[in-house]
């Protein structure tokens, strides 16, 4: 753990340094309201002043289609398990998305461990960046306490004017600092700049919904039979947008894909969604979450209550993507407000 400074004028040189060594992905502007993580080779291609990307960094950690093994049935059932990896720098990751990868880490490290995920992530370098203001009205990061850095990065950049105050938290990060030669020692005025910025943030970021963090799981327990779920069920179209864009939704299906000769092929996993009608269906055809309200309620509880019991962690990071992408304009903050109001 060490702290250094990086002049903003050195950012192009830093990206150039990194891109010369491995693939760098960063937020890139798609259109007026949309950004995505994409490969860049220069600082100019990035948009570091961005609202959460359409898909979170999850798309690198657990790719939408991920080969688990290749098989050959020409003589019985033989196979070879594989992991697809690439060296990757994720540049400019918001604190909400860092928290999202921490949630995924917890799930895939829980026994029985997912070796595929755990090997892949060792090939990543994470460079986080601090938000100094809300992305937009959909974000609920202060409520989830994710507007401030809570680890999960190799290097973290905090904007203090002409410089970034840089927290280097791993050996991997330290190597970049040492070999790029672009960083400077911390000066006293920079410490002051950082604390002033954080003070300003205190005035900006306030819990977006009137509930204390520690009371959230109980709210969902007490409102399990709430009419709010039926209202959401009436609006939800089960498109699965909310689960696809969520940094902590990790449900998947496993599918075989034969090659043309039908003897060789691969088994891969693909993102699935608890919002799909078939998701909890069993062989006889019975579905255990047949109704949309039940699936919607399941998803909310899987963010705010169940993981608290299982992993001692809330799985909403406050990025606001589900509300931003909902076809039926189901809004997370409004939903929680409605639950609070109904419970009284």
């Amino acid at each position: 753990m060490s702290q250094v400074l990086l002049a903003k004028s050195n950012m192009p040189a830093l990206v150039k340094f990194l891109a010369a060594r491995q693939k760098v992905v960063a937020p890139v502007k798609v259109d007026k309201d949309h950004y995505k993580f994409e490969e860049v080779t220069s600082f100019e291609e990035m948009s570091l002043d961005y609202i959460p990307t359409i898909l979170p960094p999850k798309k690198y950690y657990m790719p939408q289609h991920e080969t688990l093994l290749t098989y050959d049935t020409s003589n019985g059932q033989s196979m070879e398990a594989i992991v697809e990896v690439e060296e990757l720098v994720l540049f400019g990751v918001h604190t909400c998305d860092l928290a999202g990868t921490q949630c995924l880490n917890v799930v895939f490290s829980d026994r029985p461990r997912d070796i595929h995920y755990l090997i892949r992530k060792t090939h990543f370098t994470l460079i986080g960046i601090e938000c100094t203001d809300y992305c937009d009205e959909y974000a609920n990061c202060a409520m989830m306490r994710n507007h401030l850095p809570k680890g999960g990065y190799d290097i973290f950049l905090s904007d203090i004017g002409d410089y970034y105050y840089v927290d280097v938290s791993t050996d991997k990060g330290d190597q970049i600092v040492a070999h790029s030669g672009l960083f400077e020692p911390v000066r006293a005025d920079a410490e002051k700049g950082l604390s002033e910025m954080r003070e300003r943030k205190k005035q900006i970021f306030k819990s977006e919904v009137p509930i204390r963090y520690q009371d959230i799981p109980r709210l969902f327990e007490e409102t399990f039979e709430s009419d709010v779920w039926h209202q959401l069920g009436d609006r939800c179209v089960s498109c699965g947008n909310c689960t696809n864009v969520c940094p902590t939704c990790y449900c998947f299906d496993v599918i075989d894909e034969p090659e043309l000769d039908a003897t060789k092929g691969r088994r891969y996993r693909v993102w699935d969604s608890c919002q799909n009608e078939d998701f909890a269906k069993i062989a006889g055809g019975e579905s255990f979450r047949e109704h949309r309200y039940d699936r919607k309620r399941h998803r909310f509880n899987r963010k705010f209550r169940y993981p608290m019991e299982r992993y001692n962690r809330v799985f909403c990071v406050g990025c606001g993507r589900c509300s931003r992408s909902c076809m039926a304009k189901i809004n997370l903050k409004e939903t929680i407000n409605a639950l609070i109001e109904e419970r009284g």
Binding site: M79, F108, I115, C251, A280, I282
Partner: protein
Amino acid sequence: MERIHIHHSGYEIKQGRIVQIKELTAHEKLFRIVLPHGEILDQDPGQFVEVSLFGVGEAPISVCSSPTQFEDFELCVRKAGRFTEALHQLKVGDEIGIRGPFGVGFPIVPLEGNDVLLIAGGLGIAPLRSLIKFIIDNRRMFGKVSILLGCRDPQSMLFADELDDWARRIDLQFLCSIDKAAPEWGGHVGYINQLIPGVTLDPLKTFAVACGPPVMYRSVVDELLKKGFTDDRIYLSLERHMKCGLGKCGHCQIHDIYCCQDGPVFSYSKLKTMKGAI
């Protein structure tokens, strides 16, 4: 993208070989499987395996033989979809992929020294058979043992020859009921929960273990509670879509639990805290 070959992935299969196939009914077949190099499956009664056919897919199937049967294990498979239809096409000598065993099975340890009431509905007899055979092979470990079996009709009755044996044994009480009256059926007619009041037992020294379709559980649990069973002495095996078996994919999740890892067998005291579980 670089491909690294790995071992100890949770998705690696063992190459099981089919050594015997028995047609139990028009829809169910019993497969006897051996693992390579004489490896034993080492399962608990009530655990399941993921059965795989590359190019077709994978499905969770309960092991229906007892762990006291060391040399091989048995799977009872109902033809219910694309994957199980493909399994039904297989011949003796064919290979199938096996992952597991997975999950928490029937509560052997608490059961020891107690009377046991076993309740199976329909295909539920398959998983429960692993426990019944375990009990028969370790008969001294348990007190009075009663088996209640419910079937749609006599034609759908699985393991018919074994049922005759269980009915003849002096160390088991065996009762069977079919849902609707049928010609040449001299036994009970009605749903399985209706058999429960007639069984003589002491609920304070008896554990009830039930396995069957979801619709059966509500009525069975009601009868057991009426009979004086406490919640923690009732165990149920839940059917869910256990896709990965590793507590990750989410298909079998009920509230904060994954059936594939935390179950499929749960005490009713646990299940009643989870709305929608049964």
